[in-house]
Amino acid sequence: MADTAQPAAVALNDATVAFRVAGDRVYTAVERASLNVAHGEFVAIVGPTGCGKSTLLNVAAGLLKPAAGSVKIFGQPLTGLNRDAGYLFQADALFPWKTAIDNVAIGLEIKGAPREHALQRAQGWLTSVGLGAFANRYPHMLSGGQRKRVGLAQVLIRDPKILLMDEPFGPLDAQTRQIMGNLLLELWNADRKAVLFVTHDLEEAIALADRVVIMSAGPSARIIGDWQVTLPRPRDISEVRMEKQFHELHREIWSVLKDEVMKGYVQSTQAAEVG
């Protein structure tokens, strides 16, 4: 699937991210992380809570600048925001004062598309995510899952070459997550964008991705593992979990991840005691 002739869609090279906390102290969130996402590849990053997965994603988005190392997008060094990327946030990011259809259409309108055209395309995208009948609802009138669908349409209508997703289905219940996962795979299958998908759920990662990358517990989180997922596509999220290959891979990755999860847990409890 990965096309090696082209430069990687996202290439992080020894990226280190540090934050200044409380005066002169520096907190290193991510240390020397190197990661390539090829054109058309679906990569999932999994790690314990607070390990800096989202930080890495924000670096790829251009929302954060790495303290050291480089970020290249399709071979070009990234300066400012990543204009090739669409970002699906974990928290609610829809504009609450816009209806669902206006929320989706805005991505085209700010590029200067005529409103009529933008609305027409937005209606099409709402239908693709199964919300054709909810165009005139405001975000607060939609359920959590429906808001995520609008968010997906909002990002995809701009046809970004890269999709960055930060635990997008985190706040949803288990069934809705599976449905959203299948919807994502279905939409992704249509044109195979490069995807960088952050999650803490290993099963979700294996079921969705071509490659699963594991991060260590923070601070100074590193990338400590990289697995190819060769399960055949198209996949169905709930069925792929029954397969033998899925279980073997899960066991293998979990043996590495488990230690990090425990480390992360211990660190978070110690931090709570100190603080």
Binding site: A61, L63, L81, N82, R83, A85, G86, Y87, F89, A91, D92, A93, L94, F95, P96, W97, K98, T99, I106, G107, I110, K111, Y138, P139, H140, M141, L142, S143, G144, Q154, V155, R158
Partner: protein, 262 residues
């Protein structure tokens, strides 16, 4: 509780209060009237005064003047508050420089400004408008400032990632957020506009509800003072109902408290 029960209970309160007022000011208890009519008048006199004002049409001119002053104060104060609030919120340096002065002026009881405004702007409507503006401006200013400051970072980042430039962020993110905060303070702002107008009239004018009340007090016509107060309250309630209608229309996108966020 059904609407009807609620309404009848609300009416009951009014009836009981009026009845007590009437009894205490007209019927002697143990040979003594507890509330002397000279100081407390009575509902019948007050009612007939109100009726007289409306049948002779005297009141319309005063109502219109007060309404007009309130509207002007509201519009000018809101426009000023929105513009300055927006400017301060987007330019932290400006806000930091002016901060002590804003606090100083806001801490000043606005009533003391009324004579100065009368001196500068005369006894016509503009001195009252100016007083109302100083009240409305700060309400709107603080709300708009807060509204721009409290835009969620995720929503801002989302706007940026969708490709918005600063101008588009202002139009699609900061502006709607600021306006929603302003609208949520609409009741208070409109109320203050009326307060400014009436207090201004009371302190020196030739027309308006405040003038009417002040004139009646001058000749110890307690019935007319109470009548003026009733007309004023009814006037404010009517305006408040209009504001509620406007608010419902403008803030459709906001969840009501009962709905919460699903």
């Amino acid at each position: 509780m059904s609407r009807l029960t609620l309404l009848s209970l609300q009416l009951l309160v009014a009836v009981v209060a009026l009845a007590m007022w009437h009894v205490l000011t007209t019927v002697p208890v143990f040979g003594r009237i507890l509330l002397p009519p000279f100081f407390f008048s009575n509902p019948v006199d007050v009612g007939s005064q109100v009726v007289k004002w409306f049948t002779t049409g005297v009141i319309w001119k005063h109502l219109f003047i007060t309404l007009w002053e309130s509207v002007l104060a509201f519009v000018i104060g809101s426009v000023g508050g929105v513009l300055v609030g927006f400017w301060f919120a987007r330019k932290p340096l400006v806000a930091a420089v002016f901060d002590p002065y804003v606090k100083m002026i806001n801490a000043l009881p606005r009533v003391v400004l009324a004579p100065i405004f009368a001196l500068w702007l005369g006894l016509g409507i503009w001195s009252k408008v100016a007083l109302g503006v100083t009240l409305v401006f700060f309400i709107v200013f603080f709300n708009v400032y807060q509204g721009v400051k409290e835009v969620s970072n995720t929503v801002l980042d989302n706007g940026r990632m969708l490709g918005m430039n600063e101008r588009q962020l202002t139009r699609h993110v900061y502006w709607p957020s600021a306006l929603s905060w302003m609208f949520s303070s609409l009741h208070t702002a409109v109320g203050f506009a009326v307060v400014g107008a009436v207090v201004g009239e009371y302190l020196g004018s030739a027309a308006g509800l405040g003038y009417l009340i002040q004139q009646a007090e001058g000749v110890f016509d307690v019935a007319a003072v109470f009548a003026g107060m009733f007309v004023l309250s009814a006037f404010v309630i009517l305006i408040d109902m209009v504001v509620t209608l406007v608010e419902r229309r403008l803030l459709v996108w906001r969840p009501t408290a009962a709905e919460g966020r699903g």
